[in-house]
């Protein structure tokens, strides 16, 4: 290039140009241009399949997530989870390099399985793929069978595996595919005709809030139901600091996972993210398999508990009725701070469904709803939620739009606050509005993954953070004459 082009002089961007563009990117004209783009995605709210696969793998006892692909992929997934939880995320990779493109990844997988088995003494390794083996078409079924034949891992050592191409779907699909693979591996041949172990299989989906998992268990305990969480990352990503590092601090016991086909019922909390797993359950067991919205907000929690009551022939106990009453009390007390307030939210389809329900219950308006990867079906489902409430009127679902679109939307059609991951913080700053950190990932606040937002207690927590953030904003921005002790 240096030979063909005349050498130009360095120029600096002038303050006038900056001011002009600063103003322009806030205009409706810019919004229209921005909304019309078709190719580039800017600041997406979704990651790739393997991240979900790794998360769910961490949720099983003694399980080492194993990335078949380049080691850089494993480092990225580990870092992403570690930054959000501020916890270790032990995972290995087959460290494929350029020669893998020529020879395939079998040798790398062989060595990787042998070394990881010896070094990290896992009870199970959950293998999932990043781009390279997906493109070159590695045959995991054959490779893993060959590894056993070669004696690199014991014949009976569990190595479920999943194809999780990063160029198809998002992290929620990787979660689903890996979960199905783990369960079908562990539970194959474990179905006993006529057996009912009396348990509930509960699938929370891609949920990076360890508090939620503990809350699911507590709610089930209150109901008197023995639950198997599929998969339980509550200890994996919220383990005690007591002077001993444990690579596998928790997770659903493998024995329990192996018994899932003998459960009394299966409940998936992720309508749009557990297709594979739910299909598998439905094929393999006659026990009820239901999919319903996550218990975010009062009505969703009511439905969840009633579903449990129905499935297990139980009554909702007084303790949970009282908890419900306290949530409704808190929501009524605080309704005036949220009523008719407009919010922008973003995230995965099922998370959004829950947040929409909760905000509508408060008389608040989920005004801009961004889902950066989803289907028409999801749009329809979310729209139906909006249509059920007068507060949903005029609210918009922006399907397959990203956080740079969100910026344009918020600048031209403002909201009172943002609720979502840390990746939205630049929008909040430019729009000069509060940003309630929520969802995944949260990279700039502490401990939020420990605060549950499901169930009645979760509704109170959610309300507390939203209402107090808005009140803080009132105090921060009010003039002296309106700066009052009471709010």
């Amino acid at each position: 290039m240096s030979e063909t082009c005349a050498v130009k002089k360095v120029t600096e961007i002038t303050p006038e140009e900056v001011a002009r563009v600063e103003e322009w990117i806030n205009t409706e004209e810019y919004r229209d241009k921005n909304m019309a783009r078709e190719a580039v995605v800017i600041n997406p709210a979704h990651a790739c399949q393997p991240l979900g696969a790794q998360l769910v793998a961490h949720g099983f006892e003694g399980t080492l997530p194993f990335v078949h692909g380049s080691q850089g992929c494993a480092s990225y997934y580990r870092s992403a989870l570690t930054r959000h939880f501020r916890e270790p995320a032990a995972a290995v990779s087959s460290a494929m390099t350029e020669d893998g493109a020529v020879f395939g990844g079998q040798n790398n997988l062989f060595e990787g399985l042998e070394n990881a088995y010896k070094l990290y003494s896992p009870k199970m390794m959950a293998v999932f793929t990043s781009c390279m083996p997906e493109i070159i078409g590695d045959d995991l079924t054959a490779f893993i069978a060959n590894a056993r034949k070669e004696g690199l891992i014991p014949e009976d050592f569990p190595v479920p595996y999943a194809n999780t191409p990063s160029f198809n779907g998002t992290h929620i699909n990787g979660y689903d595919t890996m979960l199905k693979s783990i369960l079908s591996y562990l539970a194959a041949d474990k179905k006993v005709e006529g057996k009912d172990n009396g348990k509930l299989n509960l699938i929370p989906g891609f949920d990076c809030n360890t508090g939620n998992y503990r809350e699911y268990k507590r709610l089930c305990k209150e109901m008197g139901i023995d639950v198997t969480l599929l998969a339980d990352v509550s200890e994996s990503f919220d383990s005690p600091l007591d002077g001993t590092y444990r690579p596998y601090p928790g997770g659903t016991p493998l024995e329990e996972a192996a018994d899932v086909l003998n459960a009394h019922a299966t409940l998936s909390m992720m309508l749009h993210a557990s297709k594979e797993t739910v299909k598998w359950f439905k094929n393999e067991t006659e026990a009820p398999v239901d999919v319903m919205p996550a218990p975010i907000g009062v009505a969703n929690t009511d439905n969840f508990l009633m579903k449990l009551a129905e499935l297990f022939g139980k009554e909702v106990p007084e303790s949970l009725k009282a908890e419900r009453g306290r949530a409704v009390d808190a929501m009524t007390d605080a309704h005036q701070y949220l009523h008719n307030k407009k919010f922008a939210i973003w995230g995965d389809p099922d998370y959004l469904a829950g947040m929409i329900s909760f905000l509508l219950e408060m008389g608040a308006r989920p005004y801009h709803i961004i889902c950066s990867r989803g289907s028409k079906k999801v749009t329809k489902y979310l729209q139906a939620l909006l249509d059920e409430s007068p507060y949903g009127e005029g609210c918009h679902i922006w399907m397959n739009k990203d956080l740079w679109h969100l910026r344009s939307l918020v600048m031209t059609d403002p909201v009172d606050a943002l609720i979502g991951s840390s990746h939205g913080k630049m929008v909040a700053r430019d729009a000069n509005i509060p940003h309630i950190r929520h969802g995944f990932p949260v990279l700039d606040r502490v401990n939020l993954h420990r605060v549950p937002f499901i169930g009645y207690q979760g509704a109170i927590n959610l309300l507390t953070s939203i209402a107090n953030t808005l009140l803080e904003e009132v105090d921060r921005t009010s003039e002296d004459k309106h700066f009052e002790i009471m709010r």
């Binding site: 240096s2 360095v10 961007i13 563009v21 600063e22 781009c131």
Partner: protein
């Protein structure tokens, strides 16, 4: 700096070459035979000045060992291209790579994101199945057009390819060439697919090559050149590092015409062939272009170290020696001015840190460059290693470490755990993936890639912050709560 490290380090109490060799043997016993053979050449007991202390490096990572390494894309996007503030950097391929590397390196910049700077944004082509099947070249051309329209102040576009792009045989170079001429701004292709090479390191090299092929020499500075024009190479402005370094260099009387690439501006980088001297901080990631500029334009380069007052003073004198008396006098003035301030910092923290032992495992520079700063505070480094260094980095490391200490390459997590336990270290300085492993074990830790969301650590501005951070990591009262009284 040529004659700076002739003094052999004093031995550390209780650190013997033989004991370290035994520890290495013990560590290797953890591995199956084949992996043991592969790992053995990557760790050694230090014996400076004696041939035979060589740590093998820049080799393939052993599969299954929990390496901390990243990939070529990470080196290209996260290190070299990402910090250039006035370009849009397209992560070309599936969504993940760009997503995971989004805002995680802490390369600070001046400007308004989305207006005149773009470094904290994530541009991705978000490949879908159809892009893999039919190729992504058309999509890339469209992306460049859209970005040009939406971000008119962007001075250029970099295209950083992810694994699928190279595997399906897309030709991003052709697309970049055409887009560049259609759009009137540089569109720089960088074939940094993650499967290339063995670590981030090849991504640095590939990126340097694309700067060589597409950038250097394409612009000239507006002002007439002077004898004091220099470029600051290999400072990525983590937490403001480059600003701290630039401040001293300017105080010295030098004109910092370009920074590669922290808070970087592409046109300034392109005009760097006009400077008189290249000052290189991170040798590993930028030595390639320093050498290219030396060969092509006759620009000399030198390494320097702005971590901790001892190294800063030595570096200032070495830099000044390349210039006239005025600059040399300035160097002495600066050292005289800052020495008491730095001594006050040392007086405050050293009593609490004296004799504490640290294990370091970072990227390609800091395992050696930060040693002096720790030593200024009274800490002792019992082991140090790199994720992605080469032989020339190790050659620069042996002299910085005491005899018998452990030097290692591409450590796996289990190795680090073994060594931290054996040496009973008071601090581990490494990356985010390692951080909580050691904290769970009750061992204080600082992230030494991202400065643990603190910084700067460079220069005279950085040392007080570094000292404060190391002190609070080691002496936080929370460590006293780890063991329950019941």
């Amino acid at each position: 700096m040529e004659n700076e490290n002739t003094a052999v380090k004093a031995p550390l109490e209780g650190i013997e070459k033989q004991a370290t060799e035994e520890l290495i043997d013990k560590t290797l016993e953890l591995y199956p035979e084949k992996a043991r053979k592969k790992r053995a050449p990557h760790m050694s007991a230090n014996d400076p000045g004696v041939e035979g202390c060589t740590v093998k490096s820049n080799r393939k990572t052993v599969p299954g060992v929990m390496s901390a390494r990243g990939c070529a894309y990470a080196g290209a996007k996260g290190v070299v291209w990402g910090p250039i503030r006035d370009m849009t950097h397209i992560s070309h391929g599936p969504v993940g790579c760009g997503y995971y590397s989004w805002g995680t390196r802490r390369n600070l910049v001046e400007g308004h994101q989305g207006v005149d700077v773009f470094s904290a944004m994530q541009f991705t082509s978000d490949f879908q199945e159809k892009d893999v099947v039919y190729g992504g070249d058309k999509k890339l051309a469209k992306i460049c057009t859209e970005v040009r329209e939406l971000f008119p102040l962007a001075k250029g576009i970099s295209v950083l390819s992810e694994c699928p792009v190279g595997l399906i045989g897309d030709d991003i170079n052709a697309v970049a060439k055409k887009s560049s001429s259609d759009l009137g701004i540089p569109v720089i292709p960088c074939n940094c697919e993650g499967f290339r090479g063995v670590s981030q390191s090849l991504g640095h090299h590939i990126s340097n090559d694309s700067i060589r092929d597409y950038v250097i020499g394409t612009y000239e500075f507006k002002d007439e050149p002077t004898d004091y024009d220099i470029a600051l190479i290999g400072d990525y402005n983590i937490g403001g590092d480059a600003w701290a370094s630039k401040k001293i260099l300017e105080e010295l009387g030098l004109n910092v015409k370009a920074i590669w690439t922290g808070d970087g501006q592409i046109e300034h980088i392109a005009a760097t062939h006009q400077v008189k001297l290249n000052l290189i901080h991170c040798y590993r990631s930028m030595n390639y272009m320093a050498k290219v500029m030396e060969e092509r334009y006759g620009i000399p380069w030198m390494e320097f170290n702005f971590f901790g007052p001892t190294k800063i003073a030595a570096s200032l004198r070495a830099i000044a020696a390349r210039f006239d008396q005025k600059i040399q006098d300035n160097a002495e003035k600066i050292i005289e001015k800052y020495t008491p301030m730095m001594q006050a910092v040392i007086d405050e923290y050293r009593p609490r840190l004296e004799g504490k032992r640290a294990l370091l495992f970072v990227g390609g520079l800091r395992p050696r460059h930060t040693i002096g700063a720790y030593e200024d505070l009274g800490l002792e480094i019992v082991g140090t290693g790199y994720e992605f260094a080469h032989n020339d980095d190790y050659d620069r490391t042996y002299e910085e470490m005491a005899k018998g200490t452990l030097i290692f390459d591409d450590a796996s997590e289990i190795e680090l755990e073994t060594w931290a336990k054996e040496y009973k270290v008071d601090l581990v300085g490494s990356g985010v993936k390692e951080k909580y492993v050691f904290q769970k074990a009750g061992i204080p830790f600082r992230q030494m890639h991202s400065w643990d969301y603190s910084g700067p650590y460079h220069g005279y501005d950085g040392f007080p912050i570094f000292a404060r951070d190391i002190d609070m990591a080691i002496n936080s009262p929370t460590w006293g709560l780890v063991k329950a009284p019941f």
